[in-house]
């Protein structure tokens, strides 16, 4: 009873706080300094039609590197923890996959992979980018594992893709220091014509590597959790 009334009082307090926030809220009529600078000069400085991508990959490229590193660390920790407890080796009896799931996975998996690749290659033109494309590719892998639970996913291939794309991402960033204005600057390649696929300098290249890296990391988490996978 005391506990319930305490929760009630706490909720009332939140209502009071948030109502004050809501009552005082008035939308900005114009962009503030930094956002205004991005919106006005990004298409000249960076050449990406998608402003979000311009901010994520060039202006705040170092943050993206940090995010990818965090994702790499969590994937590594998952595989480390799951490796400690020795996987139960007895083969349990699996229910047969339903016909619908089996057929649908054969048709849908290539389409999902192509859509994921489309999302990260067109990251500088349309909504989406490396993270989204990588997550879509990993969900295609989930569909494969749901349809065929006994199928082996090569951890070696995943780790090779992951390391090569991570290394290329950092090397391209360092190349930005040497040949352009700074770390992860995109003007190594020419900016090209605004709004076409070969534009925005290095952004599509970087997003391809980010997409492959994120896809490989999320796939390795999924493949590690899936039982019946042989180690290494």
């Amino acid at each position: 009873m005391v506990k319930n009334s305490f929760i009630f009082v706490l909720l009332l307090g939140f209502v009071f706080l948030f109502f004050n926030l809501f009552a005082d809220f008035s939308g900005n009529t114009e962009l503030n300094g930094l956002a205004g600078h991005y919106a006005e000069s990004a298409h000249k400085e960076v050449g990406a039609a998608n402003l979000v991508t311009a901010v994520i990959v060039t202006y705040r490229g170092l943050d993206t590197l940090g995010e990818v590193t965090i994702l790499f660390l969590s994937a590594a920790i998952v595989s480390f923890l799951l490796k400690i407890e020795t996987a139960s080796t007895e083969n349990r009896k699996l229910r047969a996959t339903s016909e619908i799931l089996d057929t649908a996975s054969k048709i849908l998996v290539p389409v999902i992979f192509i859509f994921g690749i489309y999302v990260f290659i067109n990251g500088h033109l349309t909504p989406g980018g490396g993270f989204q494309g990588g997550a879509i590719i990993a969900s295609g892998l989930v569909l494969i594992l749901l349809a065929k639970p006994l199928r082996q996913i090569s951890q070696r291939l995943i780790s090779i893709i992951e390391s090569i794309s991570g290394l290329s991402f950092v090397l391209l960033g360092v190349a930005g220091i040497l040949f352009a204005a700074g770390f992860l600057d995109n003007k190594i390649l020419s900016l090209g014509e605004f709004g076409t696929i070969f534009s925005a300098g290095l952004i599509p290249v970087i997003y391809i590597f980010v997409g492959l890296k994120v896809g490989a990391e999320l796939s390795s988490i999924i493949a590690n959790l899936q039982e019946n996978q042989n180690e290494a």
Binding site: Q132, A135, I222, L225, Q226
Partner: protein, 81 residues
């Protein structure tokens, strides 16, 4: 105006799904309700003109993390019984 109404309805749905996820005794229903929270949240982001965030939320929040929760639930069930 119609967007505001849809946003309010989606917000209420998110709250209902979150309460279901916390208070339901069945873990499976809880996981599905938590995935539904993410799905409605991604629709809300789309209405608020943030398609990039909406794609991330739909793919990771309601897709991958739901699957990961199910894998972990399966693992725990097998170890306990």
């Amino acid at each position: 105006m119609i967007n505001l109404l849809i946003a309010i309805v989606i917000g209420i749905l998110i709250l209902i799904m979150a309460i279901v996820a916390i208070h339901n005794k069945s873990l499976v229903i809880g996981i599905i309700a938590a995935g539904a929270v993410s799905l409605f949240a991604s629709i809300l982001y789309l209405l608020l003109a943030a398609p990039d965030v909406a794609m991330t939320e739909a793919a990771i929040g309601s897709g991958l993390s739901t699957i990961i929760f199910f894998y972990v639930l399966n693992k725990i069930k097998r170890q306990n019984g």
